[in-house]
Amino acid sequence: MLPFYGEHFGNASSIHHHGQETRGAVERARESVAMLLGCRASEIVFTSGGTEADNLAIFGLAQPGDHIITSTIEHHAVLNACKHASTKGCEVSYIPVDARGLIDPVDVKRALRPNTKLISIMLANNETGVLQPVEEIAQIASKADVYFHTDAVQAAGKIPIDVNKIGCDLLTISGHKIHAPQGVGALYIRKGTRLDPMLHGGTHERSRRAGTENVPGIVGLGKAAELAATGLQNGPDQWNDGSDARPRPSIPSPRPEHEDRNHDDLRTSSSRTSTFKMAAMRDRLERGLLNIEATGLNGEGASRVPNTTNIYFDGIEGESLVIALDLKGLAVSTGAACSSGAIEPSHVLTAMALRPERAKASIRFSFGKQNTDEDVDFALSLIPETVARLRKLSPVWSGASAALKPHQSGCHPERSEGPAVLRTVPKPQVLR
């Protein structure tokens, strides 16, 4: 990447030799991305990121009067693009999910209308990691002669992706999710798909996306795609085999390390960080956290990408836990951040019919390639005590048994009694 900020600074669209060098690098990157997705290089359009790719898929296809089918759990890049499309004369149907966070393809089929132009359903949800039945949906789309787009931002690099196996017409990936720089992404567009560009200008990207290419970013994305493909080779053939659908122990029972789904051998023998290792770390963290009382897995019973877990801790405010952990050096997230940086209730968890207090008590943990077993140890040493502290200070927590009763968190103590946490008046500690 670095040479393209300096010595190879040629514009990839220029005729001179500097430009040609750069052009070569961009095209090699395109081939690497095509390799990762199992498509032709000519079917890849580079964009400024996942959001632009999602928008290009939607606005490039849907015209006023067209009907779009999407889901309630899509990333905002799809949800808000569809919302905008609906103000421009498109009709949009939002398919709900079940308690596991799964879309039922039958619902997609039922939503079809004569004017349906596009179905956009994500491959893996960004908050829960739950994998959607995209192959079945692609078949439904194909039979109905409707375009099918899938946002694979969260899945790319985590599970093998083959656009032909899925059967999608368009597929989005984002650079930084596979360890490329931020601000670069790509849209796979199946050959023969007629798509109006969103940006108008030069004939870059085969006239599908005008604008000088972000060469360093694209080169980075190409390299990341290459590395992701190698990492996946060290992983299992596929993850969406339901192997994650294991029951969680109802009685806390710490299990010995060697029972870690036999990932240990791979974890120690392979110097390369594979998705296997990521899954093993994720599973260990998950098991450790689920041993805390009144916790649970969001997306339980569904297949998930190997790097994500979403857990609720009844009786806490997710926001406080995120901040408390961040102050100790552990970066986790909850819901989605709005423009101010404040946390909004997760639309994904709400769509899964979690009650609001539980949605707000949920934390999303994601692993990257740089994470180590020590990180898991650190998290497991930090989180239980932090959760315990938060619960102790919580005005709504009165123990695990109470937390399991519905509506428990709804009752706040009357103001006149003062918040539960402040019952004792401490002696002055600071001279003012």
Binding site: E317, E319, S320, I323, A324, D326, L327, C338, S339, S340, G341, A342, I343, E344, R389, L390, L393, S394, P395, R415, G418, P419, V421, L422, R423, T424, V425, P426, P428, Q429, V430, L431, R432
Partner: protein
């Protein structure tokens, strides 16, 4: 004596709270900046009469941006916490309901009681800060003899905000720092400049943070429309003090006691709103001298300098933010109720506002002004 406890600073993006963060940081304290996201300023935009875009307001993206910039400059951790739901429940709805009941609410006191010194204090404790500091102009001290935390007026009397803080409990006061209590506003600005804070010249905010342009009537209508409520049938008669009906009005929320403008009455001598009757929806109008009275009852009283009022106490009482405290006697009138009797009649005792009792600089306590007894 300094301890190295962690202090959460409630940062609004304004000069005062930014200066607080800078001061505490300079003293070597562990400081965490927190901004409460309380209201989505774009929520009601586009409703009739509401501005399309809102800038430079509390909870606006600009203010959060400013607070974040200040935190970056000071090198302190900074987070935005979302309390929109609670704010709507405990501040905005009561604000609307009070107006519809013909009273004149003070949302800032409700916000202090239910958000800043309650929810934010809980978050602060959960993330490891035992105390919060705010940019209010007030002073807190602990009195060994009384064994109580005391709230005092600040050095800069022109900025005194104790009127909005009368509801703080002993627990809340014990965990609160008001580092600006001994400073004047120019000193605070100078401090912000010295720390090169981008907000050093930012103008003071005056209005109710969630009511753009201070037009509360439009806000009420936009909010009620959004909630699917008709701007309620609150219309009624305009009646003189001697019982003569002289007109009609479109809703009690358009009036506040002492109001002269916008009554829609053409009479020879100026008329003022004397009383708003919630039950009959009548707005009583009369002459300026009809506005004066000597007695009022406050309810939901919070006491600070003492645990209870056992015998009548001589104090000064402030009945609105800009009111000059007036001499009065206070005495208990029931559980959490206090009767105030002024030495001299006071103009426009307004139900819904607070009456705050002072002993010189000390806040004795305060309560909410009740509707006058029905004759």
């Amino acid at each position: 004596m300094l301890t190295n406890e962690t202090i959460a600073v409630a940062m609004s993006g304004g000069v005062d709270s930014s200066a607080v963060a800078a001061m505490l940081r300079a003293e070597g304290r562990n400081v965490i900046g927190l901004t409460m996201q309380l209201w989505n300023q774009r929520r009601l935009s586009g409703h009739a009469g509401m501005p399309e875009s809102v800038q430079g307001r509390c909870c606006s993206i600009d203010d959060v941006y400013d607070a974040r910039r200040v935190a970056e400059t000071l090198g302190i951790p900074y987070y935005v916490v979302n309390h929109e739901e609670r704010f709507e429940r405990d501040v905005v709805r009561p604000f609307v309901e009070e107006y519809l009941a013909g009273r004149t609410p003070i949302p800032c006191s409700l916000c202090n009681n239910h958000l800043k010194f309650d929810q934010l204090l809980i978050v602060a404790q959960q993330i490891g800060a035992d105390q919060i500091a705010t940019g209010h102009y007030a002073q807190v001290t602990f009195d060994e003899q009384l064994g109580r935390w005391l709230l005092k007026r600040p050095a800069d009397r022109s900025k005194d905000q104790t009127y909005f803080l009368f509801g703080l409990t002993q627990e809340q006061l014990s965990r609160t720092l008001f580092p600006l209590g001994g400073m004047t506003k120019p000193e605070v600005r100078e401090l912000a400049r010295k720390h090169s804070l981008v907000i050093a010249e930012k103008p003071d905010s005056q209005e109710i943070c969630f009511v753009p342009g201070g037009d509360y009537k439009r806000f009420l209508e936009a909010y009620l429309t959004e909630q699917g409520d008709q701007p309620v049938a609150v219309g009624g008669e305009m009646v003189t003090t001697d019982g003569k009906v002289i007109g009609e009005h479109a809703g009690v929320h358009n009036f506040t006691v002492g109001q002269r403008k916008g009554l829609g009455l053409a009479t020879g001598s100026p008329l003022y709103v004397i009383q708003i009757k919630n039950d009959t929806r009548q707005v009583i109008v009369g002459k300026d001298e009809d506005l004066y009275s000597r007695a009022l009852i406050t309810s939901r009283v919070n006491l600070i300098s003492c645990a209870e009022i056992n015998e009548p106490m001589r104090v000064t009482v402030k009945i609105r933010h800009k009111h000059q405290p007036a001499s009065a006697m206070i005495e208990s009138a029931g559980p959490a109720e206090v009767r105030v009797t002024f030495d001299e009649p006071q103009r426009a005792l307004t139900p819904g506002q607070a009456a705050v009792f002072y002993d010189d600089d000390l806040v004795v306590g305060g309560g909410w002004i009740d509707n006058p007894p029905q004759p």
